[in-house]
Symmetry: C2
Subunit: 340 residues, 2 copies
Amino acid sequence: MDEFDLIRRFFVRNGVPGVLAASGVHAGAILGPGDDCALLAATTTAAARFAVTTDLLVDGVHFFSDVDPRSLGHKALAVNLSDLAAMGARPVAYLLALALPRPDIEWLEAFASGLHALADRYEIELVGGDTTRGPLAIAITALGEVDPAAALRRDRARPGDDIWVSGYLGAAAFAVRERLRGHPLPAMHAALTRLEKPVPQVELGLELAKLSAQGFVHAAIDLSDGLAGDLSHILARSGAVIMGTSVGAVLWAEALPSHECLSGLVPEDRHDLMLSGGDDYELLLTAPTTARGVLERLGGLHRIGVLDAGPEMRLQDGSGGERVLPNRAYQHFRSESDRL
Amino acid sequence: MDEFDLIRRFFVRNGVPGVLAASGVHAGAILGPGDDCALLAATTTAAARFAVTTDLLVDGVHFFSDVDPRSLGHKALAVNLSDLAAMGARPVAYLLALALPRPDIEWLEAFASGLHALADRYEIELVGGDTTRGPLAIAITALGEVDPAAALRRDRARPGDDIWVSGYLGAAAFAVRERLRGHPLPAMHAALTRLEKPVPQVELGLELAKLSAQGFVHAAIDLSDGLAGDLSHILARSGAVIMGTSVGAVLWAEALPSHECLSGLVPEDRHDLMLSGGDDYELLLTAPTTARGVLERLGGLHRIGVLDAGPEMRLQDGSGGERVLPNRAYQHFRSESDRL
């Protein structure tokens, strides 16, 4: 079996490649896989533009080598859809670049099924890609549509904004920690599911984009590297917009929404997993105080702090005590043992 | 230095990220690197659509481990621009996913300089990406604009078409072969330059797209896997368009334009390097006989055969002898020693 057979057999669906547009469902793709490039058209509104993002997952860095390939297929696409969600973009299509040590049929079938199941949920299709022999690595590029006036950017946060986060945090980081400590969680454990099958907040991103167009959301990011690190990106980008200004944050420790998996842990432990653990794929946003009503009505959002003139990022406990949080996101290069 | 510093230091230019549009040059990018996604708009014509492609280069498979990083930066982008050229698309922007064993400053500076020098030639900018620790691998996604009615597709070739190819072939494959035989070429050897610094045929692709819109070009592909394998993709895709039909080809051995580096070789050797060597990044196209005049006036194209009702692909020598060519492109997975 050569690489082209691989692509066709596992990743191309709907019969003959290149006829996606004929189905009517995937109207974004005029020409799908099988040619030198895919052709895409924005279709939702005249003002829509393409949002594009790429994420690379490497064996032993972003996932354990024994990960279920079906989960890996899901996650490789999910982390990219999460970036689209953080922009408020509607997913349109994706491309896959895959390096594999050898063409393993069973592995590919499972990987593709995880990928396709998630793609089906958003009615998007693989429109191109590249497969090669090499150490296992997966680079997915996802494309979405968004009106630039509604896009959820990182650089529009302002002092005085509320800080909100969706969902419950820390479960994925807990699963990684337990594994590294030699206490792997059982297969169906909720924390492991959060690590291996994260749910991108696409629908929430679309709702927030509508509110952004009305001035009710200022900035947003998805949580991939831990709350503190990801918030620091918003602060850095928003502070840099006007030279000489800065944006800081106060987070309320007791308002941080920890996942129920963390209920047996002491508070410091829970906070650490939420703030610097990563892999949550929830959305973090900042919004003016006038947005409280509309954001509460959306449901699932927690107000966890406020922005100030910074530049520090501080964690405040229930008794008014504060500590400054290190303003750094997770660093892949810091050391071999940092993550997995 | 963490991964975010890496991105900023080596790959983001023009000062603050996200202000590409302000320069006026890169009007395709509304929002560049530094956010969850880049935002892109098609700008050339109302009918323009995005062409998108991704290529993955892996250490030891697509390049020798001791390759000059500046050349590698050039080539990683060039192979993607070659796919845009093969579609007749104008390059707009690109994304980079890079896995590196460690953040090596000298290596990154050289790699980025090769990347940027080529990007500058087409006035395109890196609009997003991802860097991580891992075995050296480079996945670039390139986006371009093309009118779908002008796009150079693979599936429109017809029996009776002439087969044309740009430039001179076989030099890159010759460089690989000499290296594998233990006779590496000197640094400035023309064949090594063809291997390490291929020139994507972007301008030619744009000219051919204009002719395609007028019916003067039927199908095109770029030569990455060797003439025989790449032509077989056109035959397969074009034959599959109407069930039960097929498209075949006759190539004239003496008309194949071999690179001057191959002049000392016996004909069989030259033909083999051109037909199955790969890495040429020239354009192969099929066109009706009525296009001969306009294609000759473009310059740099060689007419090398004709399409017939197939399904075979045959090589014809000067005395009328023929042999059937194996209908397979280069196979990355066939064996460890296949390529490098």
